[in-house]
Amino acid sequence: MSQFLEMGGYAAFVWPAYAVTLGAIVLNIVWARRALARSREEARRRLAMRGEGA
């Protein structure tokens, strides 16, 4: 296991590269869901202002 983590001496380059990319994946999921929630909230507010809301 520790041999795996050492990455043949390239650990300081390999693992940060994987971390940044997986970080991009996770952030994309979080940001996209948040953007959709915000758009729904804004749409709800727009409808409420027109008196068309629930």
């Binding site: 043949g8 390239y10 390999v14 758009s39 629930a54």
Partner: protein
């Protein structure tokens, strides 16, 4: 052949519902492919005879770089369709692409730097490939900044679409930079017309990652698209059902 399916793709309520229904069909295969690709790339693939285990950066670098170009191309095509046929949904697709593309362009640059240092002896060089990829990041950021600066969505759609379409010239420049100029960067070993120049045990995990990232783009795009479609609708009755659900 009927064109009804194509016309329906211009209809916001149809697109909203379709995007919601399709998202898991992209997300789950993407997750499986990426997990499989990580396992293959980090564990099963043998070390490279020159680069040792350092070459494993390819499994995150190449898919990120692929995303940076593929997402930009999608964005530019959607923007052009939006400009030419004045289709709101096409503009919504283009706007959804930008943050996704920007994040993976950033990842491609950082993973490239982390690969460059041990192999070339430098994190950064003003090399044609590296510089044109950095310009791509600025194009994405410029696109997003322009949109953020324009209050009116319709104006933002049109202005940013022009930028996206003009900026697409950078895509072939990035791709061919390594053949047109002397570059530190290696020439393509997978994205080329001839057969790939990698052993199967190294190539298969890379292909899994490339496909997984592409499907992941689809899933994130579909989620963002729903929000962008909502942003472009004012009082349509179908929205009421969605926001109150």
């Amino acid at each position: 052949m009927t064109w009804t399916w194509f016309h329906r793709l211009g209809s916001p309520p149809y697109v909203y519902a379709l995007a919601a229904r399709l998202t898991p069909w992209f997300a789950w295969p993407a997750a499986l492919l990426i997990i499989g690709g990580l396992w293959g790339g980090l564990v099963l693939a043998p070390p490279d005879y020159q680069q040792g285990d350092g070459f494993r950066i390819i499994y995150v670098h190449a898919p990120s770089a692929w995303m940076s170009l593929m997402v930009y191309t999608t964005m530019a095509v959607a923007a052009a369709v939006g400009l030419i046929w004045r289709i709101k949904v096409a503009h919504a697709v283009a706007a959804s692409c930008a943050p996704i593309g920007a994040s993976f362009t950033f990842a491609a640059l950082v993973t490239g730097a982390l690969w460059g240092e041990p192999m070339w002896g430098t994190y950064w060089e003003w090399d044609p490939r590296l510089t044109s990829e950095l310009i791509l990041l600025f194009l994405y950021l410029g696109y997003m900044g322009l949109r953020a600066g324009l209050e009116d969505t319709q104006r933002a759609d049109r202005a940013s679409a022009v930028l996206a379409v003009v900026g697409v010239v950078n895509v072939p420049i990035i791709h061919y930079s390594v053949t047109w100029w002397n570059s530190l960067h290696q020439a393509p070993s997978v994205m080329r017309l001839a057969k790939p120049t990698m052993a199967a045990s190294m190539l298969v995990p890379l292909l899994l990652m490339l496909l997984g990232f592409t499907l992941f783009f689809g899933a994130v795009l579909l989620v963002r698209l729903r929000g962008e479609v909502l942003n472009r609708e004012r009082s349509a009755s179908w929205i009421r059902e969605i926001v109150n659900a």
